[in-house]
């Protein structure tokens, strides 16, 4: 909770089990548990209804950060409507690096700033590893 009493809520959602997978990896790496909503999984209640019900529970002044799997996908399209609420922040193209940074960021910094920085860092983390120059020795590492 921040000094002003507003709470940040994080929601992961996306097609099939992708958000559950990201949540499970965050739990493993960071030990932080994040809410997720699987979309279109057989036998589960419609995800949008569940998200709306979840959001209803939060006080209006709280910040809600929704992270979806893919730009232009139906899940993100559904979530777009929610950005009309001033306290909802929507991010698409979520991967583990992006979600992890956002949920572990401190409470002090402005959420918009956290999101912009995290997107940049996550982008930088997408690499064709075969083309990453192999560099042996201590170059690029530090000393005391």
């Amino acid at each position: 909770m921040k000094g002003d009493g507003r709470v940040r809520h994080f929601i992961l959602t996306g097609h099939s089990h992708i958000s559950e997978g990201i949540a499970s990896a965050i739990e493993f790496v960071l030990g932080i548990s994040v809410s997720y909503f699987n979309a279109y999984v057989e036998g589960e209640e419609f995800y949008l209804d569940k998200i709306l019900a979840e959001i209803e529970k939060y006080p209006k002044e709280d910040e809600i950060i929704i992270m979806t799997d893919i730009l232009g996908g139906s899940v993100n399209n559904d979530m777009m409507k929610l950005t009309q609420m001033p306290n909802v922040h929507l991010i698409c193209g979520t991967n583990l690096a992006l979600a992890a940074q956002i949920v572990m960021a401190g409470d002090e910094q402005d959420i918009g700033q956290i999101i912009r920085q995290s997107i940049q860092t996550a982008r930088d983390g997408i690499q064709y590893c075969n083309e990453v120059a192999v560099s042996d020795g201590l170059d690029g590492l530090d000393d005391f």
Binding site: M104, Q127, A133, V134, S135, L141, D142, F144
Partner: protein, 153 residues
């Protein structure tokens, strides 16, 4: 100041680079390894995994002990990650430290499982037992939010 000494054969990876470093408020990570520099691909991976704003120093076991004893590390909030149990035990003993976090070692046929991702040989088990007998708190903990798991040796 040493914030924590951990055994983790993976050296610098997600749990270390993100969870522990931020929780400990570490500004410098010392990777204690005698083998890393022999493998360019592993060295490259370590460089890629470097968290922003944190120094990452790689040294062998002897050099690590020497550096810490010399006082050059005093100004840092230092997080020490040792590749092997043996290296960690030597460091703990030489520096008279009182806490050792076991975060991950490789499995093997002749090894006993102490808990999740931690496997030790008979010799390593004896070394850890000796530490415990000297009142060093030896425990298993993968990430800061999980509980410390005391081990019985």
């Amino acid at each position: 100041m040493i914030k924590l000494v951990r055994v983790d054969y993976r050296l610098l990876h997600g749990q270390v680079a993100f969870s522990w470093t931020s929780r400990l408020g570490a500004d410098c990570i010392l990777l204690v390894t005698d083998t890393l520099l022999d493998d360019p691909i592993r060295v490259t991976s370590v460089k890629l995994a470097k968290p922003p704003g944190v120094k990452v120093v790689v040294k062998g076991i002897e050099d690590s002990i020497k550096a810490i004893k010399s006082g050059v590390t005093d100004k840092y909030h230092l997080f020490v990650v040792c590749e092997t149990v043996e290296g960690a035990v030597r460091l703990i003993k030489e520096l008279g430290l009182k806490e050792l976090n076991l975060g991950g070692t490789t499995p093997g046929e002749d090894k006993k499982e102490l808990g999740p991702v931690v496997y030790v040989t008979k010799e390593e088990e004896a070394m850890l037992k000796e530490l415990q007998d000297q009142d060093v708190n030896v425990y298993l903990q993968l990430v800061p939010d999980s509980k410390e798991l005391k081990i019985k040796l």
